[in-house]
């Protein structure tokens, strides 16, 4: 059994983005999703500091210090993009105007609760950024996370142990082992990596899972 690499996880999430969607990608791994949009789909990326139509990193000759993304990295604007102020950027988020938010997560619960803003590490001041706004506001919230912690503890829990970002907000979970939907009937497994059985997946998951009738293998079409 080979778990997905981080780029493969981003690739998998990218396959589920429809043509024309407005999408916000969280800082870190979710940012990679934009590198794997299937050809022929025109996607509008939103950045909470006030951009729609965010493009790739600039080439050295395109660098503009006034043009950054939410992670404060340099970025570009594609043709058709626009600039607006911060309150409008979050009106878009909170008002349900984004088709999709993809974020990282520390933990997700059975009912879709999300914990991704603080581990309460006393050595650092907490920071929340736009995570709570995105979690309650976007039409769909999907998360990318390793299926377990480094020491093997499950991160898909009956109940989140870390402080919540929002309740009942996540609709789909992409891990390095599986694709899982959060539904009123509970967590439904859609795809599992080759070589891992459903029972083995359940062992790595605290919350109870159900296997979808039409489940399939999770096969990344991207080199590891």
């Amino acid at each position: 059994m080979t778990p997905l690499s981080r780029p493969q996880m981003a690739w998998r999430a990218a396959q589920d983005i429809d043509n024309g969607w407005c999408v916000n990608l969280g800082i870190g791994l979710p940012t990679m999703v934009s590198d794997h949009i299937p050809p022929g789909r025109e996607i509008v990326f939103h950045s909470e500091n006030g951009l729609l139509g965010m493009g790739p990193k600039p080439a050295p000759n395109e660098v503009d210090p006034d043009l950054i993304n939410a992670g404060k990295g340099l970025t570009t604007l594609i043709t058709g993009g626009s600039f607006f102020h911060h309150a409008d950027a979050f009106l878009m988020i909170r008002g349900g105007h984004l088709d999709l938010s993809i974020m990282g997560a520390f933990e997700v619960s059975e009912r879709g609760d999300l914990a991704n803003w603080t581990t309460e590490d006393p050595n650092f001041p907490p920071g929340v950024g736009g995570a709570m706004d995105l979690a309650v506001g976007a039409k769909r919230v999907r998360v990318l996370l390793e299926h377990t912690t480094k020491d093997g503890s499950p991160r898909i829990k009956a109940k989140c142990a870390y402080p919540l970002t929002a309740e009942r907000c996540v609709s789909r979970i992409y891990t390095n082992l599986a694709v899982i939907d959060v539904t009123p009937q509970g967590l439904i497994v859609r795809e599992i990596v080759d070589g891992l059985s459903f029972d083995e997946l359940q062992q790595r998951t605290e919350a109870p899972l159900k296997l979808a009738n039409d489940w399939g293998p999770l096969v990344p079409k991207l080199a590891h």
């Binding site: 022929g40 729609l52 058709g80 626009s82 909170r94 309650v136």
Partner: protein
């Protein structure tokens, strides 16, 4: 590829049903989506609730919808215009309901809906008849009226220029309610004189980003 342009007024209005709440932009005649309103008349949807600053003038647009008996209720700040006969006649005959809202509260309630908020406290109308029946709350020694979000099923707009993503630019005072209504409806439909190429509207001067727009028709 994203292309929000549709071929006809009928296609632009497809799916709008009886009983819909319509946000109809414009201030007086300026920036009003007359061709889309004419299309609604032709379509014959009825029992409409229309949110607009005024309640129609003359014989076209909103006035024609009211004359045809298709409008159940108007939510506005000032129903009368220079030629208010359609609304006046319906009002006197008891054929139409009027919800009068202070002008700035119409747009603020729509923005509230657009921003995903549950309501806000407004200083406007405190101690007046227009606050009758509304919750009043004192905050830091000042009284406010609770106002709820106002959302449309459909927004009908008129823009000066539009592109295939639905980015819009308005002209002069024709901007008025258009950008706010664009954000506050399930379905946002725009009539424009001019489709332009993607990028032709300066990214620094897009008045309504395409995220808020569903359909654009040239009219």
């Amino acid at each position: 590829m994203i292309d929000k342009q549709v071929a006809s007024i009928a296609a632009a209005l497809d799916g709008i049903r009886d009983g819909a709440t319509i946000l109809s932009a414009g201030f007086g005649a300026v920036g009003a989506p007359d061709d889309l309103l004419d299309g609604l008349l032709a379509k014959g949807v009825r029992d409409l609730v229309v949110v607009s600053n005024n309640a129609g003038s003359g014989k076209r647009g909103l006035a024609a919808l009211i004359d045809a008996g298709l409008v159940r209720k108007v939510i506005c700040s000032f129903p009368r215009t220079d030629d208010p006969r359609a609304f006046d006649a319906a009002y006197k005959a008891g054929r139409i309901e009027l919800e009068l809202v202070p002008q700035g509260i119409i747009s603020e309630r729509m923005r509230c809906a657009a921003a995903g908020l549950g309501g806000f406290y407004s200083p406007v109308g405190v101690g007046t008849k227009l606050a009758d029946g509304k919750e009043v709350r004192e905050i830091d020694g000042k009284r406010y009226v609770f106002e709820k979000p106002l959302r449309g099923d459909v927004a009908l707009l008129r823009a000066h220029r539009a592109d295939r993503w639905g980015n819009l630019a308005y002209r002069k005072s024709a901007r008025n309610f258009n950008p706010v209504m664009a954000m506050a409806a399930e379905l946002t439909v725009v009539q424009t004189k001019q489709m332009v190429g993607l990028g032709d509207i300066d990214p620094e001067c897009v008045h309504t980003p395409g995220i808020f727009v569903d359909r654009v028709v040239v009219a």
